[in-house]
Amino acid sequence: MRRRSDWVSAFIFLLPLLFTLAIAFLYAFVRTVYFSFTDYNLFKVSQFVGFKNYLTLFKDSYFVLGLVHSLVYAAIVTATQTFLALLLAVVVNQRIRGLTFFRAAYYVPSIASSVAITTIFIWLVNRRGTVNWLLGLLVRYWPLMVTALIITALTQTIQVLWERRHGLPVKAWDPVLLLISLLVGSVTATILGRIGLIRPNPKVEVLIPWLTTRQTFLGIPLPLISIMILNIWTTTPTMMILFLAGLQDIPRELYEVADIDGATPWQKLRYVTVPALRPVMFLVITLGLIGTIQMFDQAAITAGIAPLESVITLAYYVYWAVFGAGTLPKVGMASAAALVLATLTLVVVLLQRKFGFSEKGWYS
């Protein structure tokens, strides 16, 4: 009897959530499935057309492009951001001075509005934007930079050898010595530049059109690569926080044991940290895949200036089919595309779970 009343009260507590789920998810999903088999424009009575929408989709060059872009985008962005987030988390997990500042600074891109960030990003990668200006400086001054680097390396080598010869066990990258070497390197390079022994290249204006172009790199459109960089920059910090939480849970003893066994930092990362982070890794990769396959906002904003064929993704295709063409909405096509997107997301996540990282911890 008591069990039954428990069940009832649990149900009552769950009711508000179940209600919203039923309306906002289940009902919408069923409608979408229905519409995907019809010819419908929001205003006329929908007509059943069977699988016609699905067949038309795969003949539409924009849909196929969107599909390819979404998959490539998901693979590259998820892999890169997971790797970077792990590295960042390990770094900010150290006990170093100013740790709180770095944690906050790294997290800022994640909490800023994605529309605002994308707009700022568009300014940065303008043909006459900051990125091209910096590249221009690089092109102009690389002879001096390389000189500075070579002199720094030489000075560092000499210093380290000198100290070791005098019995001090300094490391090759000893920070104090490195600081001195950098100083020597940059000052010498500046002097060499001033007296004209090493000349900078003539001034050139770098005008790479990062967004308004059809150019590709390794078959990926340049504008899409720009969006990838943007998204990696904004999402990595969120993933870093998840890894950080995971890192705090790893027992210190494991590292102590590893130290006793004489493990290098890399071995500790490879054989202790990463295996212990498997459940978090699964979460980070899954969230990353879902977020990237369904990427919409950056594509929508940059589509205003970039060629559609260079930035279209599946999620943007769905929107474009409904509102983008300036004609009556193609709801049937959009619904079919939305379902393909949903199925694709599910399949990719399941494949990852089966062949990549699963949620099972290494010690379970």
């Binding site: 205003f43 006459r128 909405p329």
Partner: protein, 414 residues
């Protein structure tokens, strides 16, 4: 006590009566219109038309998406903006009310009061679906100081494509300023292409961009940027060519009357003039676009009072309100009678520019900014891409325009 209750009761009934009579009417428009519309509503509508309270709803999202979404959900406001650009699409939903019957019964406005081309623009299958609130067309805005500094004659109504290109080349003085700010923008390019003889679609219904007229126009339109005498607004570091003109980074831009209020607000001492778009050749044709937005009403306005909704539209398009909007420099009114307004006789650059925009609309070769069943984004999207590629030197005029035609044909076929 009894007396008090009686008085109180009467008062309550009276207030309730008044409250019931006040009808709330929702008017949704572009968010950029907010200051003007709030001003107009408080001066001419709210508290002036008895029993009506108009609420202004500024829309920041894509307006067509907003209209289609709310119409299909049955939540559209009482008065919506209908842009000629997509009017046909919205009328095709069957959910927009024809206004002919209201107009026939109205003492304030009739079809004959409107400038004919504006009434015709919103007429579909013989029925009028929106009353044009204002209109615009494209003109050449030029910075007189920059032309004087370089000793170049101002652009004029007699310019041809060739003389205009030459003037821009001579006035260009980078990095101080460019001769012009020109974007790869179909809404600026297409009037030139139409003037050169490109039809909207070929006779067989296919895309016209691979025709010689289209290619000649594309070659000329992109020549400025390719020669480095013009720059896009993005390259100048501003949001649109008009902003480059206001910031005095470009001697010329091709814009409509909407540039006038921002000049007045942001650079009121700018020494500028405005003239018609250049002709293709001496004595040859000249193109232009007619832009207009009207007030429309859904078949079932949420207030349930189409008569009152029309009354508000009547007031908003009345001579008084249109004169007020004209004098505040915001837009050119759609009523014939106002074309003789003393405002147009003034000699300050703002009034002169407004007059030029108005006169440009009446010139032969001006076509409505509308894309019928093709879809404006479909049509202009492929053109924008082609112009971008040509300007950046990623494709030749031939390649880019042939490709644009092929892409539109794919969409037309699908």
């Amino acid at each position: 006590m009894r007396k008090f209750l009686l008085v109180f009761g009467l008062f309550a009934v009276a207030t309730l009566g008044i409250a019931q009579e006040t009808v709330t009417i929702r008017l949704a428009g572009y968010s950029g219109d907010t200051p003007l519309m709030q001003d107009v509503l408080s001066r001419f509508v709210n508290g002036v038309i008895p029993g009506v309270q108009v609420v202004w709803e500024p829309i920041t999202e894509d307006y067509l998406a907003f209209v289609l979404r709310t119409l299909s959900a049955g939540t559209a406001p009482d008065i919506i903006y209908i842009d000629l650009y997509w009017a046909k699409t919205v009328v095709e939903t069957g959910l927009i009310q024809p206004l002919d019957e209201f107009m026939a019964a109205s003492p304030v406005i009739s079809r004959d009061d409107l400038i004919p081309v504006l009434a015709d623009a919103f007429t579909f299958e013989g029925k009028l679906y929106a009353i044009s609130k204002d209109f615009n067309s494209l003109v050449i805005f030029y910075n007189k100081d920059m032309f004087d500094a370089m000793g170049v004659p101002y652009p004029s109504a007699d310019d041809t494509w060739a003389t205009f290109l030459d003037k821009i080349a001579r006035v260009s003085n980078p990095p101080e300023w460019y001769g012009a700010s020109i974007n790869p923008d179909a809404a600026r390019f297409l009037p030139f292409a139409f003037a050169a003889g490109m039809p909207f679609l070929k006779e067989d219904g296919m895309a016209p961009f691979d025709l010689p007229a289209a290619k000649i126009a594309a070659d000329w339109y992109t020549a400025f940027n390719r020669a480095g005498i013009a720059a896009t607004s993005a390259d100048i570091g501003v949001g649109w060519p008009g902003a480059a003109f206001i910031a005095e980074k470009a001697a010329v831009c091709i814009e409509g009357g909407w540039l006038i209020p921002p000049i007045r607000n942001e650079n009121p001492t700018l020494n500028f003039g405005a003239t018609f778009l250049p002709k293709v050749w001496q004595g040859g044709p000249r193109g232009n676009y007619l832009f207009t937005v009207g007030y429309g009403m859904p078949v079932k306005p949420p207030s349930g009072r189409p008569d009152l909704v029309f009354k508000v539209i009547e007031v908003l398009t009345s001579p008084e309100v249109q004169e007020y909007i004209l004098e505040s420099g915001h837009a050119i009114p759609s009523r014939k009678a106002l074309l003789d307004s003393p405002f147009f006789q003034q000699s300050d650059p703002f009034a002169l520019a407004t007059k030029t925009v108005f006169e440009a609309t009446g010139l032969p070769g001006t076509v409505p900014f509308t894309f019928g069943d093709v879809g404006g984004s479909n049509y202009m999207g492929v053109v924008n891409e082609a112009l971008t590629l040509i300007m950046q030197g990623e494709a030749s005029v031939d390649e880019a325009m042939d490709e644009a035609a092929a892409k539109l044909n794919e969409k037309l076929g699908g």
